[in-house]
Symmetry: C2
Subunit: 570 residues, 2 copies
C-alpha cells in the first residue's frame, strides 16, 4: 500500500478513514499470509490504531504497545508501508516495536505486561525534563491479568504523573482470557456492571471511559478525543471492546487458530507439542497425580485434548508465568505431579520461582520448555536461547535435551517416575522415530571410534550439524566419536570420566555463557583436554531463518568442521 | 520458654492466651536480641498466630506464610520452643518456614508474593486427592502490592477451590507500604471505606471480614472462628490490622529500624549502602538526569537521604521488583539516568525484564546489586550467589565487582558517564580505602611476578582469601600473580591475552556455574592453560556464618592453597 501521511489522517472524513482501515486490513492480511505473523490481533486493532494516529501526534506523543505483536497498522501508518513486505524476514521489518527501526517506536516489547510500567516511566521522565507530550499504553485484556500491570497500576499514585491506558479488550489472550479481572471487564462492556466497577478504577487514580463497539470509528473517534481531553487532568483508562480477526469471518470465528500464522509449513516434521499432548494424556490416564499447567497458550503447547479429557486436572491461569510456576510447585508440595508447559522465552519470567520454590523445595515439577533455541521470525524477544544457562544454575533441577521427538516421548515417560524438578527443552518440531528408554543423566554414544576427537551435541539441530560434519570428515579420512549429550544436569560423569579423547567439542542451541559447553568444560578442569565449545554469541539474535541465524551467531558448520580438521591434522 | 501443647491452646481462656502471647513476645525479643532476625514483624503477629493455632488444627490444616520471616511465634507453638535459641545459627532453626524442619511448615518461603498461589495449589491438590483440611495464606500488606498476589487473586475463579487469606495489615513493608491497593485497605480499616471496596474483593470470589484491632484476642478470636465457618462455602479474606513491633514501644515507634536486627556489629567495616547513598547524592546534585528506584527497601539500600534530598527523582514502588525494573528501563528510554538498587536475591524476580527491557534496548540503567554473595543467617532463600551467573548471559550488560567500598565509590562515579546497562554487585560491608579511577573492563594487577601461576579474584572476600594464600605461599618460597578481576563483563581481554602464566586460578563469591570462572575459561579455550575455578557447589546454601559457609561450599582457603602448591611443585 501507499504511505499515508499524518496530515491526510488528521483531515480525512470518517468515511475516508474507514477506507484507510480497509486498505490496512488488506495489506496486513496479504503480508501475513506471505510472511507469517500475528493475524487476528492485528486485524482487530486497525480502527483503534487509526483513531490513535488521528487524535495524537506521533512520534512526539509516545505510544507503548504491550506485547507488541499488534503493531502492524501502526507501522503502516508511520512511514513503513513501502517496506512492510519485508515483515519478519531477515534484515526486514520487525513484527514488534523496535526503537532502532523508527522513532515512532518508543519502547521495545515482546513479552506481556510491561507497557504500563514503561508508559509511566516515560511520562515521569517527560515531567522531570519539563517536556510536553502525551504517553499512551496500548494493552490487551490478556495482559491485564499479568502481575506487572497490577504493580504498575498500584504505583500510579506514587509516581504522580499522567498516562492514557487504552485497554484493547477482545476477550482473548492467545487463548480466551480468563480470571477475575476479566469478569469485571466483561460485565462492563455487556452493560451489566455495577457502578462500583467503574469506581474500582478510580480508586487506582484512573478516570474510566468505555467504548463497546471499538471497531466503529463513529464511536471510537469521539471517545478518543474525550480521553485526550480528560488526560490533561490525570490518568485515563479507555476501555475499547474490539473483535479479534475483525473483517475476516474465518479469523473472527477462529481467533485461536489465526492468532499466529506460519509463513510456510515444515514438511515431514512432528511438532513436539503434539507429542507432549499425546504422551501426557496416556500417562494421566494411569497416574491420577498428573496435572497440566499453562499460561494462556494451551493450544500451541499441544494440551488442548488433555484439557478436554481432564478438565479437573488442567489449569490455564492466563498470562501469569510466575503464578503458574508457584501453583505447579505447591501442587507438587501437596502430592500432585505437575507438568508446566511454556515457551522458553516466557519461562524467563518465572526464573525466581524456579529457584525459590521448585528448586528450593526439590519438588517434582516437570517444565516442558517449548520453542527452545533459536525460534526465527519473531526475533530478539522470542529466541529461546537462554534457558540452558538460567536453568543450569538451579540446584536440584535436572535438564534434558531430547535428540528428537521420539526421544522426547521417552523422556516424558521417564519423567513420570522421576521425583525431582526436571526441565525438558525442545524446539518447535523434529523427527519422530521411536526411542525405547532414557535413563536420567545418561548420554548416548551415537558413533564410537578410536580417534582423539569427541563431539558432544545436544538436541536435533546440533546433532544434525554434528552428523553432517562427521560425514564430511569421514570423506577426508578423519573420524571422531559423536555423543548425544541429552542431559545437561546431571551430566553423564561416568562416561565423561572414561572417555580417552583429548579434543572435546561441544555444540548447543543456546548462548555460550553458562550452558552445556561451560558445564562439560567445568567437569574437565584439571583433565588434560582441549575444549572447543560452540553456542551463541553474547548479543541479541534478530529475526531470520533458524538455520541461517544458527550459522551466523555461533554454530557455523564450516567453522566447526575446520576446527575438527585442524585437530585431526595436528 | 516451655513447649505449649495444642490441647492447652485449644482449651485456654482468653486471659491465659494473653499470657501465652506475653511469653511468646518475650521469647522472640530475647532470642532476636541474641541471634539477630526479624523483630517488629514477629512481635506484631503474635496474637494472630495464637488465634490461628487456636482455631485451626495444624499440621493437618496448612498454613502458608508469605515471605515467611514472621513465622517465629508459629515455630514456638509447633514443638520448636526448646530449640528456638538456635534460631538462624548454623545448623539451627531457620528464620523462615522449612518443610525439612517440621511438618508444621508446609511450604518454604523467603521472597514476597508466593503465598496465595501456594495456598491455592495446596487447596486444589487437597480437592483432587479427596482430602479434608483447610488451607490458609498469611500475607502482609506489603506483599499485597506484589504482582504475584494479583495473578493468584485473578485465578481464584479458575481454580475453583477454597482458601482463607489472612491479610496481616501493619501498614508496612520493610518501609511503609505504598500504592493504590494499600489506599483501599487503609480506608477499610479506618472505617471510611465505601461499600464497593468490600465488594471489590467479592468480585474476585472472596468474602471479606475485617478486624481492625488485630492485637486484641477478644476481637480476633471470634473473627477467626467466623472466617473458618465462612470458609466452608468459599474463599475468605480476613483483613487483620496489627501493629508492627506490638508490645515494645521502641519497636512500635521505629518499625523500619527494628524490622531486621543484626546479631552483632561488624567492627571497622563500612556498609556499601552508605557509600551508595553518599556517592549518588553527590552525582545527582550535578546531573539532573539521575533518578533512584527501590522496591520497598530504601533504608537498607542506603538511599533514605537521597530520597529526602531529591523526592521528585526518587521512587519506592513497593515490593514490585519487576515493575521497578521496567520503570528504570523506561525512564532511561526517555532520557533519564536511573539507578535501581536492590538485593541480589530479589533481583532474580526481574530477570526477564533485565533481558527483555534493559538489555534488549541497551539502556543506561545501573543496577546496584546489594547483599551479593553469601549473606549468612537468612539462609537458602536469601543468599546472593546466583547474580554473576544470571547477569552474565545478558547481552549489552556490563558487570562490575568492586574490590572494596572505595573501589565501589569509584565505580559509581564511573557509571555516571557510562551509557549502557551496568550492574555493580557487592556484599553488605567492606573496607573503605580511597580509589581514584576505574576504567570499564580493566582488571587491576595487585601483585606481579614471573611465576607460572596467576590468580584472578573478584570482590573483597575472594581477594582476601587470595591474599592470605599468597602470603602462605610466599612463606614457602612460592609466588604467583594476583589480579583484581573487577569486571566480569567486559573481561579485560587485553590483559588476559598477554598473560604468560600457564596455571590460572579464579575465585568468585557466586555459584560456579556460569560466573566469572566460566567466563575466563571460555576466553582461554584454545589457549594452553590449566584452569582452576572456585565458586559455590550446585546446592542451596543454608544459614550460617559467611566465612564458614564460604569455606564449606566451595571457597576453602586450604584447598585452594594446596592446589596452588601442587602447581608450583610440578
Amino acid at each position: 500500500m501507499r504511505e499515508i501521511t499524518d496530515s491526510e489522517l488528521k483531515t480525512a472524513s470518517v468515511e475516508q478513514l474507514n477506507g484507510i482501515c480497509e486498505t490496512l486490513r488488506e495489506t496486513i492480511f496479504r503480508t501475513v499470509s506471505e510472511c507469517g505473523g500475528h493475524l487476528s490481533s492485528n486485524l482487530g486493532v486497525v480502527e483503534l490504531t487509526v483513531a490513535l494516529h488521528r487524535v495524537f501526534s506521533f512520534p512526539c506523543d509516545k505510544l507503548v504497545f504491550d506485547v507488541g505483536h499488534q503493531c502492524y497498522a501502526h507501522k503502516l501508518l508511520s512511514g513503513r508501508a513501502k517496506v512492510f513486505h519485508t515483515l519478519r524476514k531477515e534484515g526486514g521489518l520487525s513484527g514488534f516495536p523496535k526503537r532502532t527501526e523508527s522513532e515512532y517506536d518508543c519502547y521495545d516489547t515482546g513479552h506481556a505486561g510491561t507497557a504500563l510500567s514503561a508508559a509511566l516511566g516515560i511520562a515521569k521522565a517527560r515531567d522531570l525534563r519539563g517536556e510536553q507530550y502525551e504517553t499512551i499504553a496500548l494493552i490487551g485484556d490478556g495482559s491485564f491479568n499479568n502481575g506487572l500491570i497490577y504493580e504498575a497500576l498500584n504505583s500510579l499514585h506514587i509516581l504522580n504523573t499522567r498516562v492514557l491506558i487504552v485497554l484493547n479488550d477482545n476477550g482473548m489472550s492467545i487463548s480466551p482470557t480468563v480470571g477475575g479481572a476479566h469478569d469485571v471487564l466483561k460485565e462492563l462492556k455487556e452493560g451489566n456492571a455495577p457502578a462500583e466497577d467503574v469506581r474500582l478504577f478510580e480508586r487506582f487514580g484512573l478516570k474510566y471511559l468505555g467504548v463497546y463497539n471499538g471497531n466503529d470509528l463513529g464511536e471510537l473517534l469521539p471517545a478518543m478525543e474525550r480521553a485526550k481531553e480528560l488526560l490533561k487532568d490525570g490518568s485515563v483508562l479507555l476501555h475499547v471492546s474490539t473483535k479479534k480477526g475483525q473483517g475476516y469471518p474465518f479469523c473472527e470465528n477462529a481467533p485461536v487458530e489465526t492468532h499466529g500464522v506460519s509463513a510456510a509449513g515444515t514438511v515431514g516434521k512432528t511438532e513436539y507439542s503434539t507429542a507432549l499432548g499425546e504422551e501426557l494424556t496416556k500417562l494421566a490416564e494411569k497416574d491420577k497425580r498428573i496435572v497440566a499447567i499453562t499460561a494462556a497458550m494451551t493450544d500451541s503447547l499441544g494440551l488442548r485434548k488433555f484439557f478436554g479429557k481432564f478438565p479437573e486436572r488442567s489449569f490455564d491461569v492466563g498470562i501469569c508465568e510466575e503464578h503458574a510456576c508457584v501453583l505447579s510447585s505447591s501442587l507438587a508440595a501437596a502430592g500432585m505431579k505437575p507438568y508446566y508447559a511454556i515457551y522458553s522465552t516466557f519461562l524467563q519470567r518465572a526464573f525466581d520461582e524456579i529457584i525459590h520454590d521448585v528448586g528450593g523445595m526439590d519438588l517434582p515439577v516437570t517444565f516442558c520448555v517449548d520453542r527452545a533455541g533459536i525460534t526465527g521470525a519473531d526475533g530478539e524477544t522470542h529466541q529461546g536461547v537462554f534457558d540452558l544457562s538460567y536453568l543450569s544454575m538451579v540446584p536440584n533441577l535436572a535438564i534434558a535435551i531430547p535428540k528428537d521427538v521420539g526421544e522426547f516421548r521417552a523422556m516424558i515417560r521417564m519423567s513420570a517416575n522421576y521425583s525431582h524438578p526436571l526441565a525438558i527443552r525442545y524446539p518447535r518440531n523434529g523427527t519422530d522415530t521411536p526411542v525405547n528408554g532414557v535413563e536420567i543423566g545418561k548420554f548416548e554414544v551415537l558413533h564410537s571410534t578410536t580417534s582423539d576427537i569427541i563431539m558432544f551435541a545436544a538436541g536435533e539441530r546440533c546433532l544434525s550439524i554434528a552428523a553432517s560434519i562427521l560425514e564430511r570428515a569421514q570423506k577426508e579420512k578423519v573420524d571422531f566419536t559423536l555423543v548425544n549429550a541429552r542431559f545437561l544436569k546431571p551430566l553423564d560423569e561416568e562416561l565423561l570420566k572414561d572417555r580417552p579423547e583429548k579434543d572435546v567439542f561441544v555444540l548447543e542451541d543456546n548462548v555460550a555463557s553458562g550452558g552445556l559447553g561451560d558445564a562439560i568444560s567445568r567437569f574437565y578442569r584439571g583433565y588434560d583436554k582441549r575444549l572447543f565449545t560452540f553456542g551463541y554469541q553474547d548479543t541479541f539474535i534478530p529475526q531470520g531463518e533458524v538455520s541461517s541465524l544458527m550459522q551466523k551467531f555461533g554454530l557455523d558448520e564450516d567453522v566447526i568442521f575446520e576446527k575438527v580438521m585442524g585437530c585431526a591434522r595436528r
